[in-house]
Symmetry: C2
Subunit: 355 residues, 2 copies
């Protein structure tokens, strides 16, 4: 149980009969080393299982590792994106001593142009790593290509557009989350109850989430319910659509049998909750996504039964940690990091506030 002093660059240099400078050149492949010494040094490094002291390295290099985070700005209208950022900043605090800094590039998630502007700005700042929310699929894919050319590692957050060329994807398995929602719905309603699926659709945005969620929901019902997914009806609403009363009323009334449950495939579930309250549809089970303040309000008062959380804060935290492991520790990073699908009811809401 004795403490073995870790091997240092100096030790390697002594063994190889060279100077520490040469060892350093080998370690960082910065050339100017004869092949012969190179091989010898590498052999010793390997044999001694040398692990660099990243403390000393960071202290000596004073190199600034700029990490760029390119995400929508969290607005009052769509506060969701505040949480991944908070997670990134939480992670930053743990590793800031290693000379890591954060540059934030916000874009408007309804404005393609703003994304392009911020992308360009970000690239010109030459970050060492990027955290990217690929809200605009096509544009994000192009940016990904640029980063690959520049050898800048990219972590995709929340939505996956990775075609093999990113460091990691961190987010939720949307298909699975839809199945979870369906399970909760079915568990509460039992067989043979009509359910309405409500999609709030944004033009020109990445709808992949929503499609997958609905698909998961339908898959569950198809597999489990005797009558197939014929119990499910569906309505699409433009996200910018003002008053949803008319649409909702029509969707509910036009149902051949009474609607017993509603599944909203994104965070706009509070709009449906508001509708239900105003129209005294008290006993309809309502399930949706994300712990926005408005959603929490309706979860607390019982209009919303369950919310599914994407753990946005943890997404952010894991994103910056993935870059830290890759850039600083030179460790392998898990490529697909699916976060658990959190089920939130009124009773367990409390301690999720910080997630």
């Amino acid at each position: 149980m004795h403490h073995i002093p870790p091997v240092r660059i100096k030790d390697i240099a002594d063994f190889a009969g060279v100077s520490v400078g040469t060892v350093d050149r080998v370690l960082h492949n910065r050339g100017e080393v004869s092949n012969r010494t190179r091989e010898k040094v590498l052999g010793i490094i390997h044999k001694l299982n040398y692990q660099p002291d990243i403390l000393a390295s960071a202290l000596a290099s004073k190199r600034d590792n700029k990490i760029a985070v390119l995400i929508p700005g969290g607005t009052d209208e769509n506060p969701f994106w505040k949480y991944p950022l908070a997670g990134v900043e939480e992670g930053l605090r743990e590793i800031v001593h290693f000379g890591i800094s954060l540059e934030r590039y916000y874009f408007n998630f309804t404005d393609r142009e703003s994304f392009l502007r911020q992308s360009a700005k970000m690239l010109s700042d030459k970050p060492q790593g990027v955290i990217l929310a690929p809200v605009f699929t096509g544009e994000a894919a192009l940016l990904l290509d640029s980063c690959n050319e520049l050898k800048i590692p990219v972590v995709l957050i929340n939505a996956n557009i990775c075609s093999g060329s990113c460091l990691a994807f961190i987010g939720q398995d949307s298909l699975q989350s839809g199945m979870v929602a369906a399970r909760l719905m079915h568990y509460g309603l039992g067989d043979d109850s009509d359910v309405l699926v409500v999609n709030f659709i944004r033009e020109n945005g990445n709808q992949n989430h929503i499609i997958k969620r609905e698909e998961g929901f339908r898959n569950y019902y198809r597999d489990i319910s005797k009558t197939g997914d014929s119990l499910l009806r569906q309505v699409n609403i433009g996200e910018t659509h003002g008053n949803i009363n008319g649409i909702m009323r029509k969707a509910i009334l036009s149902s051949p049998r009474p609607v017993k449950g509603i599944f909203v495939t994104n965070s706009r579930v509070f709009r449906v909750a508001r509708f239900l309250e105003n129209n005294n549809c008290g006993n309809i089970i309502l399930i949706g996504y994300d712990l926005l303040d408005e959603n929490k309000h309706f979860l607390k008062n019982g209009t919303i039964d369950f919310l599914i959380s994407q753990k946005p804060r943890e997404q952010g935290y894991k994103s910056i940690m993935a870059l830290y492991y890759h850039l600083l520790l030179k460790k392998e990073v898990e490529k697909n990091q699916y976060l658990p699908v959190d089920i939130i009811a009124r009773e367990n809401l409390q301690h999720y506030s910080f997630t």
Copy 2:
């Protein structure tokens, strides 16, 4: 947006007209400084908002921060405690560079003596910080006192016996978790269905968890159900009790009305699941605790409907991080860290495997 070079000890020394040695003595209250210089230096430190570079500090000091973790060994019979340890080790990997090492002291959670032995061993090794699972309440409280006298910060994990004298408690709000279980039960069964609460009791162990969980469960039913908690019946089983068939059969048969749901207040829920399968009680809703392999098995095949996770891995992770923040970063640590009550169904089990 320009980079302000951080203030160093050297800067303070220059301002104060003293040497860095003196500043260091002030910073670490190691005396041998006149009051006059002390005051002056402190003033400047304050004014310049000096933040030590913990990298340089750790590198120069080569001090070994021993963290002791005193928990039950994870056995096949009770694998639960493997997970907090895995979380501690995960955290360790992120901070090991700062000269932090881990000493593991395992005790047998059915053997009070083994706890005392390991406590003594641990204390004699003089750790800088302790992570403690207070399975034996009285003995753990005494250990806590000893640590306080020795000024060793203690993080309590999983169960809270902290009477104001620990650095932090990290675990779950048991009362709340019982309410979550009740909510799920009630949501699935509706009003007016009989429910059985099963407690597996260990003599000479800390039963506080179990009591609180049942209390939360009862509180929910008392508040929500028209008929009060009269729907609830209860049975206690000794944890070492071999075959539970007789007890369970009696409990179910003696119920005036058919039992529709069973809530098991700890991880032994798989024993009840086994009973239900063997006795073809297919349509009873079953809810219990913890993602043990056996429990996962019954969750997957549908015998168990929901499991509540205590996030043991995260408890471990947060424990060591709390000590890191306290010992190394000298930051304030949140005293009561309640982790969210995770609801696990078959559909979202998958990505919880790593939690």
